[in-house]
């Protein structure tokens, strides 16, 4: 066991650092550093820069445009991106759908979709959850009935992140009522501008609009938009969710957030001294750092096992739970660090930063909304209770 990088890895680290320094747009960096809401253009702009460099899809095999990095290199890349406050690429196309198309899609589908995903020319969203199918995803009721060379789709999807930005949606639909519930599910690609598709915003606890409900009314979807075999969508869905869960752990981002927390705590004052010198506050930061330290090492152990392109197993559930717990603990401490200044709320500041003199610490107004909004992280991607069920069954054999 050895945590030191080889000379090649060290060189790679410097190369990544230098690239980010020169190419990562400053305006986006400022937004991420200050917790300001991001827009579609921010994501697309950054992903196109990464695509041009050949680094937008570290998880893809080389034949499809992946950089061919070792697990250690991927880790270094993530680490450097976190340290530079990089915007995380949008997972739906690059991290979730693309591996599915590579494994289960047809040649035509790979030909048709992968390049647009790689170049961020098409924005994908995820149509999984339904109002009555959350933790019990397999109980989904959106129906797709085959008529000639089309499916006619009816139903509704919810919690659709950035559905209002999306050009296309990958969806789980029910193609058979007869089989046992997991069996009748298929994986279908739907155009968001197809007649019968509409989205309605859901405003979340932080007052922002990121998620949506999507309504599907007699939407005609060509049969060639089916991925894999009809009725085998559940297998695909599960492999995709494991990619999603691993993506959710976000160790480098949490490290950066702890840095941010320490900075704010050293700028806030208490009893005539910086808050960070307050013993009880310091101890709380340390407790989170210890959790994160363990998580980072566990993450590394999992990473070193996974060979390129392969979906991680049930350990992704562990990473998801611990990752989101750490993130949530940090958002709570950030909010606590600014004391009374967590109260002021200003929607314009949430999206543009302060346009006038800040009230309290410059970042304070974003911290309560983030804490409350981040409650979602232990709910999405399969709630943390569901992850425990998965581990109980798949790891412990209970």
């Amino acid at each position: 066991m050895d945590l030191n990088y080889t000379p090649e890895d060290q060189a790679f680290q410097l190369e990544v650092r230098e690239f980010l320094r020169q190419n990562y747009p400053k305006d986006i960096q400022d937004k991420v550093a200050n917790g300001i809401a991001l827009k579609k253009d921010d994501y697309v702009r950054w992903q196109k820069i990464l695509a041009k460099q050949g680094w937008v899809a570290p998880g893809w095999p080389e034949q499809h445009g992946g950089p061919g990095w070792t697990p250690v290199q991927k880790y270094i890349f993530d680490e450097e991106c976190g340290a530079a406050n990089c915007l995380r690429t949008v997972a739906f196309g690059l991290v979730m759908l693309a591996p599915v198309l590579m494994k289960y899609g047809s040649d035509e589908q790979r030909e048709k979709y992968l390049a647009d995903i790689y170049n961020s020319d098409v924005w994908w969203c995820q149509g999984y959850s339904e109002p009555n199918a959350g933790s019990d995803l397999a109980s989904l009721q959106t129906k797709a009935v085959k008529q000639g060379d089309h499916y006619i789709v009816n139903g509704s999807k919810t919690w659709t992140t950035h559905g209002h930005y999306a050009d296309k949606m990958f969806t789980l639909v029910r193609t058979s009522q007869e089989d046992k519930k997991q069996k009748g599910i298929s994986f279908l690609l739907i155009d968001m501008d197809a007649p019968g598709v509409s989205t309605s915003p859901i405003v979340t606890i932080d007052g922002m609009h990121v998620v949506n409900q999507v309504f599907l009314e007699d939407v005609k979807v060509p049969v060639e938009n089916l991925v894999g075999v009809e009725g085998e969508g559940w297998t695909i869905a599960k492999s995709l969710l494991m990619h999603e869960r691993t993506y959710i752990a976000q160790v480098p981002r949490s490290k950066k957030q702890i840095e941010r927390l320490k900075k704010i705590a050293s700028e806030e004052r208490y009893n005539g001294k910086p808050l960070i010198e307050d013993q009880s506050f310091k101890a709380k930061i340390s407790a989170v750092e210890i959790e994160l330290m363990a998580l980072e090492m566990t993450n590394l152990r999992v990473l070193s096992k996974i060979s390129a392109g392969e979906a991680p197993g049930a350990e992704s559930s562990l990473l998801k739970i611990k990752g989101t717990e750490v993130q949530q603990a940090i958002t709570a401490l950030l909010m606590e660090a600014v004391g009374y200044y967590a109260f002021p709320y200003n929607k314009v500041t949430m999206t543009q930063g302060w346009q006038e003199e800040p009230i309290g610490h410059e970042q304070a107004a974003m911290l309560a909304p983030h804490y409350f909004d981040w409650r979602k992280s232990s709910i999405y991607g399969g709630s943390n209770e569901i992850q425990k069920n998965i581990m109980a069954k798949a790891v412990l054999g209970l």
Partner: protein, 376 residues
């Protein structure tokens, strides 16, 4: 020993619950939170008519003498209804500062107006560098002849926008952190030299940043003895902290009921999710937290009424530690057990979760009160 509410208190509670049912459903509450001033004048008049505004004050000033127990009953209802009206600012803080520090003339002039709904107050005590330390006061009032000149700034002053008078804690002598040398002044909300920046807060209330530039105050603006306000500020803040612990009990009891109801009705895996033991235990944890909070809230009310300082500090800080913990033990649980719908703006649950979470910072957070408890 008797730990039941008196008949009068039960009547007060019933009247409040009726008001909430008829006048304060979630939709109406949300309209008020968006109306730009953060309360509804008709509701304030109803409070006056119901006698709520006189709950803690002595009868000679138009009050009912119900003391901290009365406040506890009112504030629990305020928590249940997520009531936005400036009761905490005006009655609990402002009115009690006048009752405890004021001269006979000040009490006679102001308290009956307050009780009748014709005068609203706010209390400016937070400063940028102070965090939760009530004696860290840099805002200064200098004596000039018979008058005082007030300069400095105050932060996160709840309901200052709609208050007629603002009570300001200012330093009249001593070091920046010394308890001695702090005085209270009653400042007219239209005083020349005062500037205000008003804003909404994350939990739907209104607050302001205030700055004072040589605001001239006549000698009758002084509330209480010069330099000696600290013990009164601490005791009124303790009363207010106990009051928001009661508010927290109201919030928590709504969250627990709504969550249990949701567990019974939401179906996944072909059954109500309340059938799952892992969720049942979490609902029970919420229930236990609620009962413990209620106990500490009652205890704090009793000890504040008794007035002995050590007992007061210990019980109020204990209740406040529990309230701080409730952000996680009840608020986070309620959101989690509701799933996605629990973190949407549309559902009332998220607004209870927000208020509960924000109460931690008000009058000192969990860490502050844990330390204060251990030192008392």
């Amino acid at each position: 020993m008797n730990l039941e509410l008196s008949e009068e208190m039960v009547m007060l509670q019933d009247a409040l619950n009726k008001f909430l049912q008829n006048e304060y459903d979630f939709e109406k509450r949300q309209q008020i939170s968006r109306n730009g001033i953060g309360y509804k004048e008709e509701n304030w008049q109803s409070f006056a008519d119901m006698g709520l505004l006189g709950v803690p004050f002595e009868e000679q000033y138009g009050g009912f003498g119900f003391g901290q127990t009365g406040l506890c009953v009112v504030m629990e209802a305020i928590g249940k209804g997520l009531v936005l009206e400036p009761y905490l600012s005006s009655v609990v803080l402002g009115g009690q500062l006048i009752q405890q520090a004021g001269s006979e003339a000040q009490k006679e002039a102001l308290l009956p107006l307050l009780v009748g709904g014709e005068l609203k107050l706010a209390f400016a005590y937070v400063e940028r560098q102070a965090r939760y330390n009530l004696s860290d006061v840099e805002c200064r009032a200098e004596k000039k002849g018979e008058q005082f000149s007030l300069s400095g700034s105050k932060s996160v002053v709840f309901n200052a926008e709609t208050a007629d008078k603002i009570i300001v804690a200012a330093r009249t002598s001593g070091d920046n952190i010394s308890e001695k040398g702090i005085s209270l002044f009653i400042v007219d909300s239209k005083a020349a030299g005062m500037q205000a920046r008003h804003y909404e807060t994350f939990d739907g209330l209104r607050a302001s940043e205030l700055s004072f530039d040589n605001v001239v105050l006549d000698s009758d603006a002084l509330l209480g003895t010069v330099d000696e306000a600290y013990p009164i500020i601490e005791s009124v803040i303790d009363s207010a902290a106990a009051a928001i612990c009661a508010e927290g009990v109201g919030v928590v009891s709504e969250l627990r009921q709504k969550t249990v109801e949701y567990l019974k009705t939401r179906k996944q895996f072909n059954q109500a999710i309340g059938n799952f033991q892992v969720l049942q235990h979490r609902a029970v944890d919420m229930f236990m937290a609620e009962e413990q909070m209620r106990s500490l809230s009652y205890l704090a009310a009793i000890k504040v009424t008794e007035g002995e300082p050590v007992g007061r500090v210990k019980s109020v800080s204990a209740a406040k530690v529990y309230l701080g913990d409730a952000r996680a033990t009840v608020g986070e649980q309620a959101a989690q057990l509701h799933g996605g719908i629990g973190v949407t703006d549309e559902l009332d649950v998220a607004h209870y979760v927000k208020r509960l979470g924000m109460l931690n910072a008000l009058f000192g957070d969990r860490d502050y009160h844990l330390q204060r408890f251990s030192q008392a």
